[in-house]
């Protein structure tokens, strides 16, 4: 019970009101209000309590215009997401204490509040409301990245996000129109009468925000264009809210398994060839979502636990990685692999924290990722989904490749681009500011804490579990995988970076598999990329030409909006009269 706040207040409201208030304060004031809001909201969440699955704590139900509202529904599944959203919001406030602009700081808290509200929403319309607020508040964070590119990316982001909301809305209305319950429960995608179009519409809306393949481009398009602070905020909420809604509405829907598998696999290639490290993280985020979607598709209790656990740890270590890259970008002015390197000398703390994040995402034992990821692969194994199992292992190796090694290696090690001996006049970037280090430190601590003592996490999971992460089999499988992946990376680095004369020494030995093999690999990658670019470019060109032709038609001086003369309009009126007269007479 918090003084002055009614007992059944929605925690989301506390955050959203505070977010709006923050507009009126300076840096320090914004930070303090943000922290107080997150703590108060978290305390309120704690006070509300939590019920087991199927027997949720419900608050504030009522009926308006024949529609039954249930703004707060707390069961284990919704609360674990609400908790992790709070922790992400807390980290965001600290991380952005010095660097977040006014728009970023206040919208970041509103955005976090909307994600909490969405996770706790018990009825469909409340969910839709928070769904839309999340879209509208987060676009400001993209825009705050600055520049025309950020504006355009933000516009594309906004349209896609709002479209998702409107599809959801249409789905809800149709669902209610056929007498469906207003409570947000499980939907049946494939019933006795074939595929249910209403459920498909809602799944599609969720799928847009969950970055299903081909619907995913908004993420890689917009997140890297936000500022360093903004990208950390963006990484936590939208996609995980979508994961929650999928887990709630579509657990055990078979189609999600192949979708999830494709999501884990295809971003690996793009992440490998990408130069912008924050874009690498965006692809990696996409890949991580694939694990969760796949688990939701499997739908057993272990799998749903795995999805929730993965979302939980993922938010922390992904935020940590984005924080590390955000710090690098702020201090060095870029996040491009080719322009970075050697930063460990002047940014030791950032380096250390980023490596913790990288080891977590790669699921090293004793780091948080390990605890959660093995649940999903084991769930796939238990259901005898061999192909899925293998694909997930392959994707895990890919994760290590691009997020676990590539990120820290190119940013902090590799070639030292800032060495004084280069005499290029680029000063060595300084260590990140204290607030950023504190946020990264807390996040790194959380990663290790969950890794060392998994019961903390297991106690929060939706279903009772007696799962043990640290069995000999799990550890051995994971270590083999990791060693194999590290080995592969070292080979690749050798080929990419060593000059020709060095390569010539072992030319005879491995030319036959190395050069054609690499060529083939590169050709495959380039082929996939070029097909993609053709398709995407074609779509982009098409939409661009549609917009520009609309512009010529409707823009100032366009045919459809030229200043019609009075006589012309009068003629139009007469024409309308004639049409009405004729139809009236003929009828």
């Amino acid at each position: 019970m918090i003084p002055f706040i009614p007992a059944d207040t929605n925690p989301a409201m506390i955050m959203m009101v505070a977010g709006a208030l923050m507009v009126f304060f300076g840096h320090q004031g914004r930070g303090i209000i943000g922290l107080i809001a997150v703590v108060l909201s978290g305390w309120q969440l704690f006070n509300l309590g939590v019920g087991p699955m199927g027997d949720a704590q419900v608050y504030g139900t009522g009926e308006i215009l024949g529609y039954e509202f249930m703004p707060l529904r707390l069961d284990k599944l919704s609360v674990i997401f609400a908790i992790v959203f709070h922790s992400a919001a807390f980290l965001n406030v600290i991380y952005g204490w010095q660097s977040a602009t006014k728009v970023e700081a206040s919208m970041g808290i509103v955005y976090a509040g909307s994600a909490v509200g969405g996770a706790l929403a018990g009825d469909l319309l409340t969910l839709f409301i928070f769904w839309e607020i999340a879209a509208l508040s987060s676009v400001f964070i993209v825009w705050a990245g600055g520049g025309h590119a950020a504006f355009k990316a933000g516009m594309r982001y906004l349209v896609i996000q709002v479209m998702s909301g409107l599809l959801l809305f249409a789905g809800i209305v149709l669902h209610l129109a056929r007498g469906g319950s207003s409570e947000f429960g499980a939907f049946e995608l494939v019933g006795e009468a074939g595929v249910d179009p209403v459920a498909a519409l809602i799944l599609f809306a969720f799928g847009i925000k969950a970055c299903f393949p081909l619907l995913h481009t908004w993420l890689q398009d917009s997140y890297p264009k936000a500022s360093g602070v903004g990208a950390v905020m963006l990484s936590a909420f939208t996609t995980k809210l979508a994961i929650y809604t999928l887990a709630r509405g579509f657990a055990g829907t078979d189609i999600l398994i192949p979708i999830g598998v494709v999501m884990t696999a295809f971003p690996v290639f793009f992440a490998l060839i990408e130069n912008d490290l924050r874009k690498v993280l965006s692809y990696s985020l996409n890949n991580q979502l694939g694990f969760m979607v796949c688990a939701i598709g499997i739908g057993t209790e272990l799998a749903i636990n795995g999805a929730a656990a993965h979302a939980f740890v993922h938010i922390t270590y992904k935020a940590l990685l984005f924080m590390g890259m955000g710090a690098v970008m702020q201090q060095a002015g870029t996040a491009r692999a080719t322009e970075l390197g050697g930063l460990h000398k002047s940014m030791p703390w950032t380096t250390a924290f980023t490596i913790v994040g990288a080891m977590s995402i790669s699921a090293f034992p004793l780091f948080s990722g390990f605890v959660a990821k093995s649940m999903i692969t084991v769930a796939a194994g238990e259901e005898h989904l061999l192909l899925v199992y293998i694909m997930l292992l392959f994707a895990s190796a890919g994760v290590l490749e691009h997020s676990g090694i590539k990120i820290p290696y190119f940013a902090f090690f590799a070639h030292d681009r800032f060495a004084p001996s280069l005499r290029n006049g680029v000063p060595r970037p300084k260590e990140a500011p204290l607030s950023m280090l504190i946020a990264m430190g807390i996040a790194a601590f959380l990663c290790l804490l969950v890794g060392f003592y998994p019961p903390i996490l297991y106690g929060l999971l939706p279903y009772e579990t007696d799962y043990h992460a640290y069995t000999a089999e799990h550890v051995a499988t994971q270590m083999q995988l990791l060693l194999f992946a590290i080995f592969a990376f070292m080979l690749l680095v050798k080929f990419k970076l060593y000059p020709a004369e060095v390569r010539s020494q072992n030319l005879d030995v491995d030319w036959f598999w190395r050069v054609p093999g690499r060529k083939a690999l590169m050709a495959t990658v380039a082929g996939v990329a070029s097909v993609w670019h053709t398709v995407w470019g074609g779509l982009k060109g098409l939409s661009g030409s549609v917009v520009s032709s609309l512009g010529t038609l409707h823009g100032p001086g366009g045919v459809l909006s030229r200043y019609w003369t009075v006589g012309f309009t009068a003629l139009f009126t007469a024409a309308v009269l004639a049409v009405v007269l004729i139809t009236a007479f003929l009828n």
Binding site: G154, V173, H554, T569
Partner: protein, 501 residues
């Protein structure tokens, strides 16, 4: 005693106050006087609404002449709601106009300006209150003629106001002429102009003259309410009129024309005519086309007032759509949107007026970085803009929600789902044009000019309307219910004893 005269008081008080206002000095006194009159009218209109909600339609014979000799005023629930709405907006816009007009009107015309404002107000109220078809024409012309003048007064700041007013004059007169021709034809057939009698005598009758009369009235009122493609007078008139005038007109004049259209369609003609379906078909198609066409044009405009004016044409499309369903839910949804749109558009145009006061321009380029230099006005504008898009917790969401519900509850030539998807798609267009302005205000760097401080007399009404926008987005049950009841009275038990439902 005074309560017996309730139906006529809100109409004649501003009418008689106008000449007095003209005699007042060209100071703030004229505006204050007009404001007082608006408040008095609003008080009477609210009392009227309360009475009508309680005892049902009220009839009042003007000058003591009983029906059918005299002119009869007859106010039912739908009428009382629109009268309350119009007088409410007048009482909010008039105080705003005091400061705004000092800036935008030639000082020597101040008292004339407010006199015209009062006449316009009176005309709009009269259209709603009267139960006499010809009287509708008279009041429509009273309001229109004063509006032409009001638009032309914008010429101090932009000479294009003169051509805009002239265009409006010519087209408005064409509309009025069509309307009065239609009335003449009906009179020819029935020998009466009283709405109730018209209804009785037209019941079951059907011949070419009536049909022609119907077509003329439909077209004439269609022009007055800016139905696509007869909307062309609206954008220029709204853009170049003084800010306060735009804020008032955008929220009232087309709404009153829609009310008149509802009256003629449902009360006078009723459903018994075979060609009622044609009218609904026209509304459906023209409403949908108007929604898309006007929203698309709005996206590519560089003038914020022009963007909002085109948006008004698009929003009228939503109302026509609701009417075209020809169900209680549909007409109710249209009335809800009439109310919500009036509130949000007044909010928006007041914010635009405040920016114009501060920076002297309503072009988009003047809005750069306003979030930093004029945060309150920006906030108000954003609230209005979100409502325009139909974001939850704003009024616009409520009206879209009931409209979508009504669409599913009715049978149309076009499948309901398609209509709903089109509503959704046109909301996306609104996202684009509102988003463009929001981006300019929030994320572009401010220009070097420092804005003038906007006086409290302008800020207070603006903030009030923003609060109303939010309030009716959260607690709209009363509004929806009363609009539904009004729709029922229009379709079923209004002036025309059960419109053959």
């Amino acid at each position: 005693m005074i309560l017996d005269d309730l139906p006529v008081l809100p109409v004649i008080i501003p009418l008689f106050a106008a000449p007095i206002c003209l005699l007042l000095p060209n100071t703030r006194l004229a505006g204050s006087f007009a404001t007082l009159i608006a408040w008095v009218s609003f008080a009477f209109a609210a009392m009227l609404l309360a009475t009508v909600a309680e005892v049902g339609p009220i009839e009042y014979g003007l000058g003591g002449w009983a029906n059918p000799l005299g002119i009869v005023y007859r106010v039912d629930l739908a009428g009382a709601i629109v009268m309350t709405l119009v007088s409410l907006l007048a009482s909010v816009v008039f105080p705003y106009a005091i400061e705004s007009a000092r800036d935008e009107i030639v000082p020597s015309q101040t008292s004339a300006f407010f006199a015209m404002f009062l006449i316009c107000f009176s005309g709009l109220m009269g259209v709603v209150a009267t139960g006499d078809a010809f009287n509708v024409f008279v009041f429509l012309e009273i309001s229109s003629l004063s509006t032409y003048t009001l638009v032309a007064l914008g010429a101090k700041r932009d000479r294009r106001a003169l051509t805009a007013a002239f265009t409006y004059l010519v087209l408005g007169t064409i509309g009025a002429t069509f309307f009065v021709i239609g009335l003449g034809l009906l009179y020819q057939v029935t020998g009466t102009l009283n709405m109730t009698d018209l209804h009785d005598r037209l019941q079951g009758a059907d011949n070419k003259v009536i049909r022609a009369g119907y077509a003329f009235i439909f077209t004439g009122l269609g022009l007055k309410l800016a139905m696509f493609p007869m909307h062309r007078w609206l954008p220029a008139a709204y853009t170049y009129a003084p800010s306060a005038v735009t804020a008032f007109l955008a929220s009232t004049s087309t709404k009153v024309a829609i009310y008149a259209m509802l009256r003629f369609l449902f009360t006078i003609f009723g459903f018994s005519f075979g060609f009622a379906d044609i009218a609904f078909g026209f509304f459906l198609v023209l409403g949908l086309v108007g929604m898309f066409y006007a929203s698309t044009v709005a996206i590519f405009r560089e003038d914020v007032k022009m963007i909002l004016a085109y948006s008004s044409v698009a929003q009228i499309g939503y109302m026509l759509l609701g009417i075209s369903f020809a169900t209680v839910d549909g007409v109710g949804a249209a009335l809800v949107h009439v109310f919500q749109h009036a509130v949000m558009k007044t909010t928006l145009f007041m914010a635009v007026g405040a920016v114009f006061f501060a920076l002297g321009s309503h072009r988009l380029s003047a809005y750069k970085g306003l979030g930093k230099t004029m945060p309150v006005t920006t906030g108000v504008f954003l609230i209005g803009g979100l409502s325009l898009v139909g974001v939850p917790l704003t009024g616009g969401f409520i009206s879209k929600w009931v409209l979508v519900q009504a669409a599913f509850g009715s049978v149309q030539a076009i499948p309901s789902l398609l209509i709903v998807l089109m509503i959704v798609a046109s909301s996306l267009l609104a996202v684009a044009y509102v988003g463009r302005i929001a981006w300019t205000m929030l994320l572009e760097e401010p220009t070097s000019r420092t804005p003038r401080k906007v006086p409290l007399a302008m800020m207070a009404p603006m903030l009030l309307m923003a609060a109303v926008t939010i309030y009716f987005g959260i607690d709209a049950e009363g509004l929806v219910n009363i609009c539904r009841a009004a729709a029922e009275s229009l379709l079923d038990t209004g002036l025309g004893y059960g419109g053959a439902m």
